[in-house]
Symmetry: D3
Subunit: 229 residues, 6 copies
C-alpha cells in the first residue's frame, strides 16, 4: 500500500483493538506524545476550531486535492463507528473543505471527528454540534468536486505520517499519531507516565523543587552553573 496513490479507495481497514483505544482516550496529547518517545506529533499549526474539541480514534485517511472536497464524500462511506477522519492535501490549501453538512453526515456514520491539513467553515455549527475538528484554517471559501484523490492510503498530514488504522489523539495541545503496532505499548507507557506525574504533581504542590525532585543540582554544577549574589 504505497503512499500518495491517487484514484483508489481501500475499503478494508485493519482497525486496532477498541479497548486499547478506549484506554488511550483517557490521556491528553502531551502525555501520549511523551509515551511515544516524542515522535508522531503533527505540526502545531493544526488547531482545534473550538477550545474544548478533543478526539481519539482509529484513522480513516483521505488524500485531497487543493480546493476539492470530492474525496471527503467518498471517505464518509468508509467510516465506521468510532473512526476519526484524517485528511492530507497534495499541496497547501486553506479553503473551507468541510462544514456542517459533512459533519452531520460523518456523525451519522459514527465518526468521532476530523483532522484536516486545510480549512473548514460553519465553525459555530461545529461547536454547537460538539463535532471536534482540528484544522490549519477557518475559511468560508467552498470547494469544488473535480479531481480524484484517494481514501485509506497512507497520508502525510501536517508533517506526520498517518496510515489507516493508526490511532489519532487530538486536543488543545495538538495532534499525535500512534502507529497501530505500537498502540499497546503506548497505552501502557501513558498509564505509567500519568501515574508517575500524579506523584510529582503532589510534591510540586507541596513546594518541592524540580531541582531536588529530579536531582538536577549535581549535573548543573558539573555543567558549570554558578550562583552569584
Amino acid at each position: 500500500m504505497p503512499s500518495n496513490e491517487l484514484g483508489v479507495v481501500h475499503t478494508k481497514v485493519d482497525r486496532p483493538d477498541q479497548q486499547l483505544v478506549d484506554r488511550l482516550s483517557a490521556f491528553g496529547v502531551a502525555t501520549v506524545h511523551e509515551a511515544m518517545g516524542r515522535v508522531g506529533l503533527m505540526r502545531p499549526y493544526i488547531r482545534p476550531v473550538y477550545p474544548t474539541a478533543r478526539l481519539c480514534g482509529p484513522a480513516v485517511t483521505v488524500l485531497l486535492q487543493p480546493g476539492d472536497n470530492w474525496m471527503l464524500h467518498v471517505a464518509a462511506e468508509q467510516v465506521r463507528d468510532g473512526d476519526v477522519l484524517v485528511a492530507g492535501c497534495t499541496t497547501e490549501c486553506e479553503d473551507g473543505f468541510f462544514g456542517d453538512l459533512l459533519a452531520t453526515s460523518l456523525r451519522a456514520q459514527g465518526c468521532r471527528g476530523l483532522v484536516i491539513d486545510g480549512g473548514v467553515r460553519d465553525v459555530a455549527d461545529l461547536e454547537q454540534m460538539d463535532f471536534p475538528v482540528f484544522s490549519r484554517a477557518i475559511n468560508a471559501k467552498g470547494t469544488i468536486k473535480a479531481t480524484l484523490g484517494s481514501v485509506n492510503v497512507p497520508v502525510v498530514c501536517a508533517n506526520a505520517l498517518v496510515r489507516p488504522g493508526d490511532v489519532v489523539v487530538a486536543d488543545i495541545d495538538g495532534v499525535v499519531v500512534v502507529p497501530q503496532e505500537r498502540l499497546a505499548e503506548v497505552v501502557e507507557a501513558s498509564e505509567t507516565r500519568e501515574a508517575n506525574e500524579e506523584g510529582k504533581r503532589a510534591k510540586f504542590r507541596a513546594g518541592v523543587l524540580g531541582l531536588d525532585l529530579y536531582n538536577m543540582r549535581e549535573p548543573l554544577a558539573a555543567a558549570g552553573l554558578r550562583y552569584e549574589d
Copy 2:
C-alpha cells in the same frame, strides 16, 4: 469615485434597502459567499476578536495611513444607524488603531461594528460591550493622528473591494462583501440555499451519504476511481 483618493470625505452614501439587509442578516458568511457565486470574500487572516462576534450592514469605508487613526474619527461622523465601518490601510500595519473609546463613540452613532485590515486593542472591553470587531491583529500599540486618508471612497480591505453602501457580513467563518447592486439577488439565493440545505441536513442526519444525495457515484467511476479490498 475613483479608489485610493486621499484627503476626501464623501458625505453622501447610497445605502441599500434596509429590509434586504435585515433579510441578509439571517445568514452566515459561508451561506452568503456561496450565494454570491464564491466571490467577495476577504482573506481569512481577518478574524473576530471574540468568538461570538457577528455583524451585517452597509459599509461606511475609510482608508487609513499606517499607524494613524485620524480618519476613524472623521468616519465616525459619517456613520448612520445600522452601518458597519470598514477600514483598509495603504500598507500592512498591525498597530492598534481602535479601542474601547472609539467603540463607544461608534456605538453612540448607531454603528454595528468594525472590519479593519489592521490591529485593535481593549479587546476585553469590546467583548464586554459586544461590539463586534474583525481585525488582522490584536495589539496594544496606539496610533498617531498626522496624515490624511479618506472616508467613503472604495477601499480594498484584506484583498476585497468594498464600496460605500456595499453590505458586509461577518462571523467566525470570515467576512464577505455583497455589492449593493447584487443585494436582492444574493438575499434570494441565500434563502434558497438555506432552505435547500435544511433538507439535505435532515437526509445526512438520517444516514444518507453525499455519494447518493449528490449522485456522485457515476462521475467518480467515470473519473476512474476504483475500490479495492
Copy 3:
C-alpha cells in the same frame, strides 16, 4: 550585569515597591503602554493561552536554550511571592517548554504567571488552574535538559528588553514591560490617563464626536481634508 551571559544565576533581585505594583495591576496593557510613552511593548505574537489570562508583577528572568527547559527548574527556586517569570530564548523555538507540572511548582513558590518566547503545553490544565501564561505557541513537543542558560540576567523576550525586577503587565491586548526606575511615574500616568478616559467615555457615550472632543476639525482642514457630497 551584561545581558546574554550564559551559565549564571543571579540570586539577588532588586524588587520594586509592592504597593506600586498593586496600583499598576489595576490597569490594562493598553493603558500602561500609553502611560509609558508607547515603548516597552512585546511583539504581538505573544498571546495568552486562554482569553481571561492576565498578570502583573516583577520579573524573574530566564534565558533558555532552544528545546531545553533546564533553566526553568533553576529559575523556580529564585521566584518569590508575586513574581512573574519571563523567559527569552537564544533562538526561535516553539517547542513546549512548560506544562502543568512546572505551573504547579511555580504556583507553590508564589509565582503569578509566565511570559515565554516559546511554546507551552497542558493548556487545558493551565486554564483550569487559572495560571496565566503568555506564549508564542501551543505545542505538545517536550524539551530536554542538556544546556545551560541563565537566570536573572537581562533578557530580550519578543523584542522587549526585560531586566530582573522590571514590572511586567500582560492581558489579552499583549505584554508590556515597565522598567523599575520608571514604575512610580508610570503608575501615576496610568491613573491620570484612566481618570481622563472615563470622562471621555461618558462624552462619547452621549454622542460627542472625537472630531469635537479632540478639536480635530481645524487641523484636518489645515491638512487639506475636503468634504464632498
Copy 4:
C-alpha cells in the same frame, strides 16, 4: 463593469497612450509610488522570481480560481503588444499556475510580463527567457482547468485594485498600479520627482545632511528633541 464577475471575457480594453507608458517605464516603483501620492502599491509579498525582472505596461486582467489556470489561456488571446498580464485569485493559493510554456505563448502575443497573486514554476527558464514574473510563491505544483474565472474585469491582486488598461510598474522594490486616468499626471510627477532627487543626490554625496537639506532642525527642536553628550 462590476468587479468579481465570473465567466466573462471583456474583449475590449481601453489602453492608455503608449507614449505615456514609455515615459513612465523610465522610473522605478518607489518613484512612481511617491508620484502617485503613496497609494496603489501591492502588498510586498509579491516578489520578482529573478532579481533583475522589471516591467511596465497596461494591464490585461484575469481572475483565477484556486489551483486552476484555465483562464490564463483565455487571457493569452486578449493580450496585445506591450500588455502586462495581472492575475488575481478568488482565494489564497500558492500552486504553480504558470510556467515556461505559457510564458512562451504570452511572449509570442507581445506580452511584457506577468504579475500573479499565486505561484509559478520553471523559474530558471523564465530567467533565461528574461520573461519578468512577479509572484507570491515559486511552486512546482501544477494546476487543473475546471472552473471559470474572468478576463478583463477589475481584479484585486495582492490588495491592490487593477482595472484593465491601468498601468502596472514592477521591479525589485515591488509592484505599483497607476489608474489610467491618472497616468499623465503620474508621469509628470515622476519626472519632476526624479529631477528633484538628482539634485538632492549630488548634495548628499557632497556631505550635506538631510537635517539641513530638508530644514528639519527647527521642527525637530519644536517636537522636543534634545541632544546630550
Copy 5:
C-alpha cells in the same frame, strides 16, 4: 521498517538503478512532479540556498532532533557516491544544523547534496563549493550533539514521505520525491512529457494559442464562458 523510530541506523540501503537516476537527472522538478501524477512534492518553503543549486540522487535519510545535528555525522558514514542526504526533524526548527565543514565531509563521501527541513549556515561557502543545499532557513545559530535520532528510517521532510533509496530531485522550483518502485515509470513519463512539451513550445512560439492547442474553446463555451465587447 516503521517510520519515526529513534536511536537506530540502518546500514543497508536498497539503492535504485543508477542509469535510471542518471536519466531522471535530466529533468526539472516541475516535469518530474507532473510525470508522478502530481504527488510527492515537498512544501514550497524549502528553498535552494543559492539560485543555481540542483541535485538528483537516491536518499539517505536522517531524523534529527531540534537544535541537534549529532545524527548528521552518523549519517555521513552511511552515504555512498551519488547519494543525497534528506533530513527531517521531529519538530519545527530553523537552527543552523549544517555548514561548510559538514559539506566538506559529505562531499568527500561522494554526497550530491542536502535537503533539510531546518536551517543551514556558511551559505557563501556552500555556493562557492557548489554544494547544493535546500533548506527552510538560513541561520547562523549552531546546534548541539545530545539526543539520538535515526538514520535510514522513513522520514517526513516538509510534508513529503522519504524512504531510504527513494530518489530526490531538487531545483529552484522545489523538491520532489520519487518512490523507488515508481522510478522506471516516472523516468519514462518524464521523457515523454518533455518530448511532448518541446513540440508545444514550438507551437506557442509560433503564436498558436493554448485555447486551440488544447482544444479549450468548446469546453469553455460549455462551461458558460461568454465574450463581451
Copy 6:
C-alpha cells in the same frame, strides 16, 4: 542610559578599538556567533538585500517610530567613519524607511552599512552602490517625518540588544552583535576557532568522518545508538 528613551540624541559614543574591529571583520557571522558562545544573534528574518552584502563596524543606534524615518536623518549626523547604523522600531513595520538618497548621505559620512528591523527600497541602487543593507523586508512604501524616536540609546533590533559602540557583524548567514566589553575576547576566540576549523576542513576533505574526528562513537553507543543491517 536606559533603553527605549524617546526624544533624545546621545552625541557621544564610546567606540571600540579600531584594530579589534578590523581583526573581527575577517570572520563570518557563524564563526563570530560561535566565538560569542552562541548568544547575540538577531532573528533570521533579517536578510541581506543583495546576496554579497556584508559589513562589520561599531553601532550607531536609532529607535524609529513605525512608518517614520525622521530619526534616520538625525542619526546620519552622528555617524563617524566606519560606523554601522542599527535601527530598531517601537513596533513591527515593513514600510520602506530607507532608500538610495539616505544611503548616499550615510556613505558620505563614512557609514559602512545599515541593519534595520523594517523595510527598505531602491534595492537595485543599493546593490549598485554596494551599500550593504540588512532588513526584514523590501518595500517601496515611503515613510513620514512626524514623531520623535531616539539616537544612540540601547535598542532591540530583531530580538537582539544593541548598544551604541557594540560591534555588529552581518553577512548572508545573519547578523550578530558583539558587546563592546567582550570584543577583544571574541576576536581571539574567532581567530582560534577559524584556525581550528582549517585543520578540520583538511581532514574532512581527506575523508575522515566527524564520528572519528570528534570521537563520537563511544558517546553515541552509550546513548544507545544501534546499527542494523
